[in-house]
């Protein structure tokens, strides 16, 4: 009962949902909910990382050959872009916490911009590998696993041919799933930016910005592991 009285003033905050007794309870629940969601995402990607572990242990040369074919410079650039987007996201949450509405919008738009750059680069990287597989012809340079896979372009011999296809299967599955998470994140960020522009968030309530931020940082963390594991295998 006393908890209700203490938060009586907040009962009128428009963002408070009816089943919560206070804004703080709502914020704590939302935050915990996002962390629990992230926990299941760790296991979701984790299945792929486990698969990667098994096959890299079994086929180290094939993985090395596949990895050498990727451009580490592009991966490095994309890593910096994504880390930068995490910085802008964190600064967006910070701006909401200190009540600077315009900066919130600005930093979230910057996050979206950097995320889009990342996706654009990925589109280019994928295109290089997928375009040769389309249509008729010799499919030189095709790196999509399957009948049209062109191992000759990787200078891989005999027994390792099948194994290097597994490397590329993992490459597409892991970076593809990661990219999908970013693609899903962009409209969510846009929505938050819109509501921020409408003045919905302030120091006493900016929970959606906070929890979307948690999601975005998680997507960054996945890439932090993907970059060395896919792009930097073996000495260059």
């Amino acid at each position: 009962m006393s908890e209700l009285a203490a938060h009586a003033g907040e009962a009128h905050h428009e963002a408070l949902q009816h089943h919560f007794t206070s804004l703080e309870q709502q914020r704590a629940a939302s935050s915990l909910g996002m962390w629990v969601f992230i926990a299941q995402e760790v296991l979701f990607f984790g299945g792929l990382f486990a698969t990667y572990t098994v096959y890299r242990h079994a086929y180290p040369e094939a993985f090395s050959a596949g990895s050498h074919h990727l451009s580490w410079k592009i991966g490095f650039f994309n890593t910096l872009v994504l880390i930068g987007s995490s910085l802008t996201m964190a600064l967006g949450v910070y701006s909401a916490a200190i009540g600077k509405k315009n900066r919130v919008v600005g930093f979230i738009l910057a996050t979206i911009l950097l995320g889009s750059v990342f996706l654009g680069v990925k589109y280019f990287e994928y295109g290089e590998k997928i375009r040769p597989c389309l249509g008729d012809g010799p499919h030189t340079g095709c790196l999509v696993p399957g009948a049209r896979f062109d191992a000759a372009s990787l200078h891989v011999k005999g027994a390792d041919l099948g194994h290097v296809q597994i490397y590329f299967s993992l490459y597409f599955a892991m970076t593809g799933l990661h990219a999908l998470h970013m693609i899903i994140g962009v409209p969510i960020l846009l929505t938050i930016a819109y509501f921020a522009w409408r003045g919905r968030y302030g120091p006493e309530y900016h929970t959606p910005v906070e929890i979307v931020g948690l999601y975005w940082h998680f997507v960054d963390i996945v890439w932090i592991f993907l970059f060395p594991l896919l792009y930097l295998i073996g000495a260059h």
């Binding site: 915990l32 909910g33 299941q40 296991l43 990607f45 098994v54 399957g146 099948g162 597994i166």
Partner: protein
């Protein structure tokens, strides 16, 4: 138990809207629980039809009733529907959704809209999977073993895989909602060790749902990808390892069986204490055992793979861990039994199901020990011994608990009583039918009859006929509650707030509860299951 004549309360959650929109757009956890109840009952009926087809085929030894392919599709359909669309959601999505906010003194779950979303996701997943099963079917077994499922099967593997993938997110969201709700929305005074054991059980279950389901989700997605794009993760021709699929699949699917049984154990704890009129024995041990089962359950998965080509050293590790996971279940069983000792046992229908559960779960659990042992498993694996073992747990255990829970809380959910004599008759039918169906299968397995075989040696026929006869009785046993419970919704006698005289916050509200559950936030100041003191009066404002 109060004896004044009763009417239904003037205002309750079922009255806040009659049209389709008030149901399909509801965020009330009680209505969502009922929508789940309707959906999973439908899926149970479909799964039972598949079971009927399987048992029909096994009446004769030579497979003359149907083609082998049709039989394979039948047992696969039975497994897929029952595991993913009945057992996994059953108690959490129906009773859990309905009761958890009531039990902790909250107005709803933490995320009501996500709750509704989880139901829609379930329905979409179920619709897609049924589409796959009915147009062309699936013959891989519910376990989707590769490379058969990825390379050789000519059925709707990819579509079914996507349907199951989608349904998995329903389970994850339910678990997420429960964890946050139980942590953040307990009423004042409701400390962790005052929580009902039903809530502890769902908390432990939710942990498994969150940490296990995503792994099978990604695995089944990889199967779909391999079917569609030939990725080769599990294809030996490209260096893939089919055993890796099994590892990833069972990493979830073993803990999944604890998702299926833990909520049921929670129900048993609630009923056994109420109908013994006695405080449950070893409350904290039962609570901690639920957590222990959830955690240790993640460490034993490869006991499903002992004969597949696993390293024998790895198998030894998993076998030892499997023996460990039996311990907390045994602790619980002992504690329930100890609760009965010197209690005042009331033989109402929910309690009959408790006795069924304890006896049948005991048999199921003990037979699991033979399977966990490497040596005996070599002979028993992939035989009917395994089939009998898991049906004793899943049907003799989980479903008995589900039925007991439905009967126990039915008055709270609907505001009405069912006819008790029908309850007793049905429970007897279910018990007899169940044992007649599955006990012969222990013998068949021991004698060497393999599972998933369309035909079998003639000397096994009599046991198979007995099993099919039992399945028929069991089917009638299930039809009866469906009929009289549905009938009670329209014609049942009003039950009053607390017809059983039970402890627990849900029994302090009216039956059926108001939409927002409690008019004022309840304050909890007594220990759970304090049957020595009289039941609390309903709080009316």
């Amino acid at each position: 138990m109060t004896s004044e004549s009763r009417t239904l309360p003037a205002d309750h959650y079922l009255k806040s809207g009659w049209d389709l929109k008030s149901w399909l757009l509801t965020t009330d956890h009680k209505r969502i629980g009922l929508m789940y109840l309707v959906s999973i009952t439908l899926m149970f009926a479909i799964g039972s039809i598949y079971a009927g087809i399987v048992r029909w085929n096994l009446l004769v030894p030579n497979g003359s009733q149907m083609s082998a392919e049709a039989y394979n599709k039948a047992f696969t359909g039975h497994g897929v529907v029952m595991v993913f669309f009945f057992l996994i959601p059953s108690i959490p999505a129906t009773l859990g959704n309905f009761l958890i906010p009531l039990m902790i003194g909250a107005k709803d779950l933490a995320f009501p809209r996500i709750n509704l979303l989880s139901w829609y996701i379930y329905v979409i997943g179920a619709a897609l999977t049924m589409y796959a099963l009915l147009t062309g079917g699936l013959e891989t077994g519910w376990t989707f073993y590769t490379p058969y499922s990825t390379v050789f099967a000519e059925s709707n593997v990819a579509v079914a895989a996507v349907g199951i993938f989608i349904a998995g997110f329903s389970s994850i969201l339910t678990g997420l909602n429960f964890i946050v709700t139980i942590h953040k929305m307990r009423a004042p005074g409701l400390t962790w060790f005052r929580l009902p054991l039903f809530v502890w059980a769902h908390y432990a279950t939710a942990i498994i749902q969150i940490l296990g389901t995503p792994v099978v989700a990604i695995t089944i997605l990889l199967v779909a990808l391999e079917r569609l794009f030939h990725f080769g993760f599990f294809d030996p021709n490209r260096g893939g390892d089919p055993i890796l699929f099994q590892h990833l699949f069972w990493f979830y699917s073993h803990p999944a069986v604890y998702i299926m049984i833990l909520p049921s154990m929670g129900v048993i704890s609630e009923i056994v204490t109420c109908f013994s009129r006695k405080r449950i024995f070893g409350y904290s041990f039962i609570a901690m055992s639920s957590l222990a089962i959830a955690v240790i359950g993640f460490l034993v998965w490869a006991h499903h793979m002992f004969v597949t080509g696993l390293s024998v050293y790895s198998a030894m590790v998993f076998s030892a861990l499997t023996y460990l996971v039996a311990v907390p279940s045994a602790i619980k069983t002992f504690n329930w039994t100890a609760t009965l000792f010197r209690g005042s046992v009331q033989w109402d229908t929910p309690m009959i199901y408790v006795f069924c559960f304890i006896g049948l779960f005991l048999i199921g659990g003990l037979t699991g020990l033979f399977l966990g042992n490497l040596g005996t498993d070599v002979h028993l694996t992939d035989t009917y011994f395994v089939v009998a073992h898991f049906h004793y747990i899943m049907v003799g255990g989980a479903i008995m608990g589900y039925l007991g829970g439905l009967h126990f809380w039915w008055p709270k959910i609907t505001g009405r009583k069912y006819v008790e004599s029908w309850g007793k008759v049905s429970s007897l039918l279910v018990f007899v039918g169940f044992n007649l169906t599955f006990f012969p299968q222990f013998v068949l397995g021991y004698l060497g009859m393999p599972r998933r075989y369309w035909s079998y040696p003639e000397e096994f026929q009599i046991l198979n006929v007995l099993s099919t006869a039992g399945a028929t009785i069991l089917g009638f046993g299930y039809l009866f509650p469906f009929s009289y419970l549905t009938h009670s919704v329209f014609r049942g006698e009003p039950a009053g707030d607390n017809p059983w005289g039970a402890k627990g916050l849900e029994w302090t509200t009216q039956s059926p509860p108001k939409t927002h559950n409690f008019d004022a936030v309840p304050v909890v100041d007594e220990e759970p299951y304090d049957y020595a003191s009289p039941p609390k009066e309903t709080v009316r404002v």
